[in-house]
Structures are given as C-alpha cells and as structure tokens.
C-alpha cells in the first residue's frame, strides 16, 4: 500500500476519511451497515466505530501465495473507493505484494520489521493456496517457499484471515489432481486463530466486517465447521434467494434466454449450486450492493464451498460427475446402467434357471 507516513501517523481516521470526501455521517452509516452484516444490534455501530478509530489498531500484512490476486482485486475494484476500502487502507497494511510502493529488499524489510516489532500482534491476511509437494518449491516469494513464509508470518500473527477459496481450502490449485499439493492455510499453520473467508473472490464487505469484529471485540467472529464466520456463511444462498419462490412453485429456466429466463425464474435446472452453498451473496451482494450472480441471471457456482472446483462442477449440471468414471459421466448414466444391468442379468438368469429346472426333471421329490 502506498504508505504516506503523514496520513498514517498524524491524521485520525475521521480526518483521513474527510480528506477523501467521506463525512462522519457517511462513516457512521457504513458502520451501522457493518453491524447489521455482523448481525449485531445497531447500538454496536458506535462501539465498532470507536474501535476502528482507536489508535492501537494492529498492523496488517497481506500475503499472496498461489493466487490470481482476485481477492486483492475484490478489495480494490469497488466502483468508487468505498468507506470499507478506505478503512482497510487506513488499517496500516504494512505489506501487500501487489499494491505496495516498495519493491524488492525494501518490501521484504517492511515485512520483517512488522514481524519483529509486532510479533503476536499483527493480523495476517492470506490470499492463495500453499503448495506443499516437494517442500513447497512450486511457489517461491523473495527466495522462500510459501510454506516456510506462511509458517513464519501466520504462526506469529495475532489472527489469520484466509481470504478466498484458495487460501481457505486450496481452491482451484487444489483441484484434482492437485499437482502442487496445494493446501489452505488452516491445513499448514496450527496454533493461531484462523478464520476463512472463502469465495472466488471473497466479498470485501465480509473482510471489513471480520476486521471490525476483531477490533471491536478482540476476537474473531464465531465460525462453522469450516472456520467460516457464521454472520456471512451461516445461511445457504438457496434459502435467501430472491428466486426461491419459483423453485418451490416448479418454475425453472430450461434454456438460456428462454421465456422463464427472461422472467427471472429459478436457475436450479441450469446447475445453480445455491442449494449447496453457504454465503451471504443474496443479502450483501457485490460491487457496493449492485447485484450478484443469480440476480444477473446466472446460477451460483458454489465458489465458497470446500472442494469447490471438483464437487461444484460442471457448473451447468446439478450434481458433480461420478469420480473415477472419466469426464462427463453423470450419476444418472451410471445409475441407469446399473439398473439396466440388473434387469438384463435377472432376465437372462431366469431363462437359464428355468431351462435347468426343466432339464433336472420337473418337480422336486
């Protein structure tokens, strides 16, 4: 992050926001939205605002490993600099490979300084999976493997936030056959609080909310069995979907662009993975609440689920293909084959057995 020292050390968050054209009213409005995202009472908006503007904010380092920088993009490419974006900027992000001004040894030094001066106190945000095969040589940054780097940087952090499905579960790089042995942070780093914000990419609202929760309460928000915060991943897409009524009615899009598609019917038959996916897309939406995939007429692809690439594809079929049968072999094909084999086998056996019984001499005894 281009670090303008005067902004970081002297200006308060309010002054910083003011200089970017965000009024205090706008700031408090945003904090109220975040409190709602976290399912907290409105009264917590003030507490959260106080926590965010306090002077003892922990520094943040943003590590990128086997990634596409999509989560960084999600952070930066708001249609306009959102308040959340500015708060994250203000949070003294000491290290972010893609967008920091420093390069080379200077950049690595700033990381080293943070690790040394704020040991056990900084927040580590990780983007991208960590390859472990062949001692992790598939991903090297600054002459070190992602594996070694993650163990040091995350192992000494106060808390780790894994952003995006790759950092959470290995993501696309971990798809079958996973040549690099890609893993999520939680499979590599032990002994520190880790929270996952999967998604391809993660939603910046959830990242901001998680950080604000941490600043306000000093702990990471409660999570589900996959270490996803419940405030963002506690409900299925399907159960909060604006097209759910069409699902229950039995009104489905049968082909892209058909009359059902034009009327906004349910995308279930087009392979929508909303029924399998936990995420708050229908409520917080994307790009400053503009829209989200189903609203735009495309099914959910299940990007925030563990094993996303293998078990949520094909994107346009409801169920994954049967593993071990090659490409495009659906459960229906295998199942119908099995049933047909049983029918044919039974018929053939029946004919042969009847002939054998006749040959053996009619009735028993």
């Amino acid at each position: 992050m281009s670090k303008d020292e005067s902004v970081w050390t002297e200006a308060s968050l309010e002054e910083y926001l003011e200089s970017r054209g965000v009024s205090r009213r706008g700031f408090l409005g945003f904090m109220t939205t975040l409190a709602a995202t976290l399912a907290l009472p409105v009264s917590f908006a003030d507490k959260a605002a106080a926590a965010v503007t306090a002077d003892n904010r922990p520094p943040v380092v943003w590590m990128e490993y086997q990634d596409c920088a999509g989560d960084s993009e999600s952070l930066l490419r708001a249609s306009r600099p959102s308040v959340g974006d500015l708060i994250l900027n203000y949070l003294s992000v000491d290290y972010h490979e893609t967008i920091m001004a420093a390069a080379g040894h200077q950049a690595e030094k700033s990381l080293e300084d943070t690790l040394k001066n704020y040991k056990g106190k900084y927040i580590a945000i990780v983007e991208g999976s960590i390859p472990v095969n062949k001692d992790g040589i598939y991903c090297m940054v600054g002459g070190r493997t992602a594996l070694a780097s993650a163990k040091e940087v995350c192992g000494n952090a106060a808390a780790v936030i894994a952003v995006g499905t790759c950092a959470a579960y290995g993501g696309i790089a971990a798809g079958e056959p996973n040549p690099t042995g890609a893993k999520g942070v939680m499979d590599v780093v032990k002994g520190v609080p880790i929270i996952n914000l999967p998604g391809c990419p993660m939603n910046v609202v959830n990242l901001t909310a998680t950080i604000v929760h941490y600043l306000t309460f000093g702990t990471l928000p409660p999570t589900d069995r996959y270490k996803r915060p419940l405030f963002a991943y506690g409900k299925r897409i399907h159960d909060n979907c604006e097209r759910r009524a069409h699902f229950d009615q039995g009104q489905y899009v049968e082909a892209w662009g058909d009359s059902g598609h034009r009327q906004g019917w349910c995308l279930y038959k087009m392979g929508c993975k909303g029924p399998s996916t936990f995420h708050n897309c229908p409520t917080v939406r994307w790009n400053d609440g503009t829209s989200w995939p189903v609203q735009a007429g495309h099914g959910c692809v299940g990007c925030s689920e563990p094993g996303f690439w293998d078990t949520m594809s094909p994107f346009y079929d409801r169920l994954p293909d049967v593993p071990g049968f090659g490409a495009d072999v659906t459960a229906t094909k295998v199942g119908l084959g099995l049933t047909a084999a049983a029918a044919v086998g039974v018929a053939a056996h029946g004919v042969a057995k009847t002939m054998q019984l006749k040959a053996s001499g009619g009735d028993k005894e």
Partner: protein
C-alpha cells in the same frame, strides 16, 4: 426327505415394516427423482407449489423410512429367530457359511435347487444387510442435507457430522445415486423371491403377506 410344514416365519411387525419400507422407498424414489429433475412444467399456473409438495412428501417419507429402520433394528433384538440381527451376518456362523456355499451353487447353476431355508438364505441376508446399510446412509445423508437449511438447529446438531466425512456436492450425488441401487435391488429382489417360490416351493411370495413359509421346522436358518 424332511417333513414340510407351514411355519410362522415373519411376525406381524416384520411384515408391517417391510411394507412401510416399500412405500417409503418407492415414494422417496419418485419424489426424489422429481427433486433431481423437475420434469413437470408449471409455467402457466401461478398457484403451483409442485416442488414444495414434492419436498414435503420426500421429507415426510424420510421420517417413515427412518422409523422403519429403527423399528427393524429393535425387532432384530426382540423378534423370533428369523428376525434376529444375527441373520444379517450369515458368514459369522457355520450353518450360515454352509448355506452361503449352497446358495451360490444354486445361483451359478452348479445345482438346480438349493437345500432350502426357512428364513432368509445366506446370500439374501447379505443383500438385505447391504440394502439396510444403504437405507441408513439415505436416512443420515437425507437428514444431513435437510439440516443445512438451519445450521443452528437440532437436525444439524444430530447429522451435521456427516459433512466431516463427505463434501456437500458428493453427498448429494451419493444420495441421488442410491436411488438406482434401490431400483436394481427391487428388480433382483422380486426375481429372487419369485425364483425361490418356483424352485423351492417355499411360499416366499405370500410369506410377506401372511407370515407363513413352508419348510423343515428343524432347519437352523
């Protein structure tokens, strides 16, 4: 030849559970197939609630199947000797192993007729063990998938552990695929029952209605 008598083999609870399982499996397959592939078009009916009803029936029959499985296990502990759970594991006792060889010979045409049993023959018992385990899998995976609607709820607390072992996407596929195992079992089951009736003259076709089979009352199995 041994004396042949009509013996009460299948007690009333066994027969009731057999038919509730039949109803639930058939109903679950039909509604489940619709849930997988909603083939009815309700395009011009704004009051339709087809998927809603299909799911409601599917879930209700899921309860019925669960009760059937639990009931069968309980009766396996307190029923007559043909109902006991031991019968599902014929390979664990000598008469069972002997009968297994005999029945395999019968099915592979090495002998025209099996020597006959009163209860399930050993191979059938193993088939029922498998289908019973699949019923348990269907109940557990079904309730696990159902529980996803409320991860803070009782059902998720009871069945959510399934997701430690199987990913959401594969669990759905396995739950759907099991329908075809039931279909294959159904075909094979009807055939084996009919063939047993013909080759052994043991009345197995009617036994699931009246409870009686014909055979040697001294038969161990």
């Amino acid at each position: 030849m041994p004396k042949i008598k009509a013996i009460k083999v299948w007690e009333f609870p066994i027969r009731v559970i057999h038919w509730t399982n039949f109803v639930s499996v058939v109903g679950l397959s039909v509604t489940g197939a619709y849930i997988h592939f909603p083939f009815l078009s309700t395009a011009n009916n704004p009051d339709a609630f087809v998927m809603g009803y299909a799911r409601a029936i599917h879930l209700s029959l899921g309860w019925l199947l669960m009760l059937g499985v639990i009931g069968r296990v309980i009766w396996g502990l307190m029923g007559n000797r043909f109902a006991r759970l031991r019968n599902f594991l014929p390979f664990t006792y000598p008469e069972g192993r002997e009968n297994l060889v005999d029945v395999i010979k019968y099915y592979t045409f090495a002998s025209p007729r099996p020597s006959g049993t009163l209860g399930h023959n050993a191979l059938a018992s193993m088939a029922y063990l498998s289908i019973g385990l699949i019923m348990i899998f269907q109940v557990v995976s079904g309730f696990a998938l159902y529980s996803q609607a409320d991860t803070g709820g009782t059902a998720y607390a009871l069945f959510g552990w399934v997701f430690e072992f199987m990913n959401n996407g594969y669990l759905r596929m396995a739950h759907y695929f099991s329908m075809f195992i039931f279909a294959s079992f159904f075909i094979t089951h009807i055939y084996a029952m009919w063939m047993s009736d013909v080759a052994e003259r043991n009345g197995s076709g009617g036994s699931m209605f009246n409870g009686y089979k014909y055979g040697d009352p001294d038969s161990k199995i």
